[in-house]
Symmetry: C2
Subunit: 396 residues, 2 copies
């Protein structure tokens, strides 16, 4: 356990979720065990050429930050971003295996009615509809089936925003990370800036590492003011121990620091859809969504390979701010945050130019950030080496 | 707003969820607007003869009771029952429209890692697998796709246990409550006793009304002992204001009072599957799952009808205990709890004997509890009259 893991545990959370992985170790891995998401046979249609995915995720503790931001500023629209976080944490996982159509979406909200109004619930539901509509306009076939809002004040301090996506797709369309081979190159797609389908600057924040980012960035004036926004069993020295107020100027994109940490998770779905349409899925050896696990996520995919990331996309201001505020070193930062690239392609060299051009057509920076070699230490497990901005080679 | 609603609101919950219904009023009703669940066209397979359902629900605050029961007794297996509650709240809704096959299942757990161990998560996950396996053995085609466990101590006091089900079915198999007509009879299926597929006496408790049942039944010794088990903003006079300890003898089925309130939600899926197989779906005019809304749930289905329930199944001991402990009168009890029957069939008279016999083959009591007449007051909205044990006719 790293120091970082220990700090997470003290906050009633975890970065590595090793206990959870132990609890689920016996559940089977599906019919494409190497793929980014669990894929099962076509239980929905009984067609041997098809397969199914059902995937659950949520906005995590980002909703707690939205809550205090709303209380401080009166800006209720931040809850639309929370809906986007919840939805994109699902769709960007599922589109990473190649699914772009025949998807159903359902949401689950748990709220404390003492504190969270029907108006807030309305913003979350409208937020979902808004993002679904943008995805539909970009050719993604995802459809809302409504959901459940439960008043569970005895369980939930403020509001928890989760969702689930199910998909049916052709087996021949599956992008299976088992095809990753030495000689491939790694292309990173920037998580920050402003894509053509975004209406303002995005800081690059996803929906991972929020328990850390919230407490390490923001000041202790919120401890007394919003006790409902954190676990009461957490030692106070780990609660809001940063130096920023929510409304401090972030210095980029016209955002406050609160808005920067609350930046809705960028979706790469329109970009991936266009890449699949123009290049096809066959030649793509792997796609990794750098959510939980950050830049080290790739280590769980492929077989006996060494991911060498020696030319990373420049770290955006928000992650430098979190790094400085939390006193966390690069080795741990790369394991929790996407650090500037939340989606990466692992492909033969000849696809590089086309993928970069398509990302560019959406105003998203993309570049070759590294390569795949054989893992000299093992034929089965994988290794990741990241070159940090200070020149250090960090080995995972 | 009733007094009961007010008490719920004071506890950070709600019985009528009117605010939530306002927030979602603009979302569409699907292709069978009269059906028990929202049904959409076959987005998963693009076949005009098929349709899809995606449905989300959870165990609600029952998990908070399981938590304190586990702390008091060390019996960790109560969390298996919570998984059953979460799963059955989904499947019994979906099977009420006729779906019995081609279903995918996914779960979402949010926990406070300070208080809820990996061992508890393991029990919940094993509980899901156990119930799924029982359903599969009874001919229900539902398949687990895993799920997500999030460590979100800043949002969740103890543990929240939700799940989602998606299904693909033939449109011709849909049981659409729009077929309910005057002249039909109402058959109730008991929610208590011990079905052939249950391993002990079931009190009849579902997963609705738990915020009331928990606080109105159990004694204030738990206020100081388990502050993590309730909303801290709730006025203490509404917290654990009953007279029972969790381990007091319930007097029925060898259960303690804690075990009685924690009785895992009975599923009717094996019974409905057999009814569909033996009788067919065509002749069944309606099926109502009496979850939230209790015995008044039927009012939302059908058109211009009057449900007259004048011969109810005997109220089981647990609901009499809750009624007495909470000082709640019958009119409100019937709106929150199933009061002894959580599933009802609305059918022509000639199906009565067959349905009762099939329920009986699973050791589940069933009887004609009433009839459908034309609503004398309206051609579009519905009315419910329930005859209480004291002879009062309660009109909703």
């Amino acid at each position: 356990m790293t120091n970082y893991d220990e700090k997470y545990l003290k906050r009633g959370a975890s970065a590595s979720k090793s206990e959870v992985h132990t609890a689920i170790k016996n559940t089977d891995k599906g019919i494409f065990p190497g793929a980014f998401c669990k894929i099962i046979e076509d239980k929905l249609g009984n067609d041997p050429d098809y397969c199914n995915i059902m995937h659950a995720d949520g906005a995590g503790t980002k909703s707690s930050l939205a809550y205090i931001y709303y209380k401080e500023t009166g800006d209720i629209s931040v809850f639309r971003g929370i809906a986007q976080d919840s939805l994109i944490m699902n769709i960007d996982d599922v589109i990473a295996v190649g699914a772009t159509d025949n998807m159903l979406f359902s949401n689950t909200i748990g709220r404390n009615k003492h504190l969270v109004s029907g108006e807030i619930i309305g913003e979350i539901i409208d937020g979902y509809e808004q993002v679904l509509s943008m995805l539909n306009n970009n050719g993604i076939g995802i459809y809302s089936c409504g959901g459940e809002t439960a008043d569970v004040g005895d369980l939930v301090r403020t509001v928890i925003v989760d969702s689930t996506l199910s998909a049916r797709m052709k087996r021949s369309d599956v992008i299976d990370n088992e095809n990753i081979v030495p000689g491939d190159v790694i292309i990173g797609l920037a998580s920050y800036g402003q894509a053509t389908y975004e209406d303002r600057y995005n800081s690059g924040m996803g929906s991972n590492g929020l328990t850390s980012a919230r407490h390490d960035v923001f000041t202790d004036i919120y401890i007394e003011k919003y006790p409902e926004s954190y676990a009461d069993a957490t030692d106070k020295e780990y609660i809001y121990c940063g130096k920023y107020k929510l409304t401090d100027d972030f210095g980029h994109g016209g955002l406050t620091v609160g808005e920067a940490v609350l930046s809705p998770t960028r979706t790469y779905a329109p970009v991936l859809k266009k890449i699949f349409d123009k290049i096809g899925r066959d030649k793509i050896h792997g796609i990794i969504h750098n959510s939980g696990g950050g830049q080290v996520k790739c280590r769980s995919f492929g077989k006996g390979v060494h991911y060498i990331k020696d030319s990373m996309i420049e770290i955006p201001p928000l992650f430098e701010l979190i790094k400085e505020s939390s006193g966390t070193d690069y080795p741990e930062m790369y394991q929790v945050f996407n650090m500037g690239s939340r989606m990466e392609f692992i492909v033969p060299e000849d696809l590089v130019e086309k993928i970069i051009a398509i990302a560019g057509s959406f105003a998203i920076e993309a570049k070759t950030i590294g390569r795949v070699e054989k893992n000299p230490d093992s034929d089965t497990s994988n290794k990741v080496t990241i070159t940090a901005p200070d020149g250090r080679e960090i080995i995972y």
